[in-house]
């Protein structure tokens, strides 16, 4: 079972990944966006860390909802509402339980990704974060690691795509040949989840559920 601490660690790991990769995310955002994806997410996850340290989020659901609200209040752009909605909706779906099973996490993330699709109006193949999130969440039933790898593969698969939503869509044909920054950061988020689960399971092999 996974407790609130597990989700705090996930958010911390996600923040560290964004910090490590901020320059690459911004670099990917230059040819087909406006060169700020890394700095925007870094601002958001820095605020998430501060909010989680200050806040009394005691359940898995509360941790993710606080993280989501904080992203909405600090990131701006499209990423703020989209990532914020992903985490808020996932957190809502986890309810008020003190501990949740991996199966519950899988279902909640599925609902979270559905909310992102609804809010942004995009579908897989449009060269957006959904191209990493959808295959990632679909592979969660295998393991967190398989899901992270599927998301990474999904992000790479955006290279030949023609963008139909988001800032890159204004480029039309010229969006082809570039990896989508949002799909790339989505893959980082799921990789951080897999790292967190690996660390937790190594510390307590009986704890995974």
């Amino acid at each position: 079972m996974r407790d609130a601490e597990f989700f705090r660690r996930w958010m911390t790991a996600a923040g560290a990944a964004v910090e490590r990769e901020a320059d690459r995310l911004t670099e990917l955002d230059s040819p087909i966006g406006d060169a700020d994806h890394g700095s925007n997410l870094l601002r958001g996850f820095t605020a998430v860390r501060a909010a989680l340290e200050a806040g009394p989020a005691a359940t898995p659901g509360a941790v993710l909802q606080l993280a989501g609200r904080t992203l909405i209040s600090t990131v701006g752009g499209a990423s703020g509402p989209l990532y914020g909605t992903l985490l808020r909706r996932t957190g809502k779906d986890l309810g008020e339980a003190a501990e949740v099973s991996d199966e519950e996490v899988r279902k909640a993330l599925y609902a979270g990704v559905g909310a992102v699709a609804q809010l942004g109006g995009a579908a897989p193949g449009d060269k957006t974060m959904l191209d990493a999130l959808v295959p990632g969440v679909a592979a969660l039933s295998a393991s967190y690691r398989v899901a992270a790898d599927a998301a990474e593969g999904g992000a790479r698969a955006t290279v030949p795509m023609l963008a139909r939503k988001g800032r890159a869509s204004y480029l039309g044909e010229r969006s082809i040949g570039h990896q989508d920054p949002g799909a790339t950061s989505s893959a980082l988020l799921l990789a951080a989840l897999a790292d967190t689960a690996d660390a937790a399971d190594a510390a307590d092999p009986a704890g995974s559920a």
């Binding site: 911004t26 230059s30 040819p31 087909i32 966006g33 406006d34 060169a35 700020d36 700095s39 925007n40 601002r43 909405i72 209040s73 600090t74 990131v75 701006g76 752009g77 499209a78 990423s79 703020g80 509402p81 989209l82 809010l119 942004g120 139909r164 939503k165 988001g166 800032r167 869509s169 204004y170 480029l171 039309g172 010229r174």
Partner: protein, 334 residues
Amino acid sequence: MRMLINSPETVVADALRGMAAAHPELDVDVERRVVVRRNARGGGRVGVVSGGGSGHEPLHAGFVGYGMLSAACPGEVFTSPVPDQMLRAAAAVDSGQGVLFVVKNYTGDVLNFEMAAELAEEDGLRVERVLVNDDVAVTDSLYTAGRRGTGATLFVEKIAGAAAEEGAPLERVAELARRVNASSRSFGVALSACTTPAKGSPTFDLPDGELELGIGIHGEPGRERRAMMPAREIAEIAVGAVLEELAEVGPAGGPVLALVNGMGATPLLELYGFHAEVARVLAERGVTVARTLVGNYVTSLDMAGCSVTLCRVDEELLRLWDAPVRTAALRWGR
């Protein structure tokens, strides 16, 4: 790249401190990033609120004041502001008559204003939203993010603000704003990419001797790259593209408002020379220009280039355009 800044992290806050120092008639909340017209609730008017990423100055904060915006919410550079800012702005300007959000059509702005509108309505405010989407370089269809909001934002904010100043109710202000947007089209050209403070180098690579056609206002490249050409040929392409789509709006021959807008790094000497060509092309096509504005109004940091926006107007829209306005960047008749 040399910039006249303290640090990339503080550019927006520093600019707001400067606005506060230069314009005591504005209430500038540097910390929360909201610029409000002094005594915004005083007149019992509809509030007109806009906002968007920074880097397009004077849009939007430069248009806060008598006869135009009640408040503006500047985001990070080229990044939509967050719902908290819009909620604060709405609360600061609402006199019970409701608030109009003027939103440029970008996914981020649309989503953040949508969230803000929902929260404001939960707080009991009446909110209407108008989307500005005038850029003809982008295909407008269900399968895209739709046309971008660019130069027409100035027309929408001016005319909606004038109607609000006259005491028009929210539905009327919103209807006029939508009419202005529906009657406007724009086309932009870049002669250089822009440099965001965070990145410190140009957002795209544009070799000497080439130009980008169909650019937006966020340093994103355009649809097509061509060899550099004289202003007269650029004017023919830009005006031609705008008029082609404006034909859908109404019968040709009616008067238009014309905005020849600099992207930030093009001198007025060049802009006026370019406007001479724009005016020539319009005359050749039989278009009557009722009013013209030439200058840097909807910019893209230090991008060189320009955009052309035309708005078909009737007597009512023209009267509201001519109505007095007193803001940092636009003022006449009072």
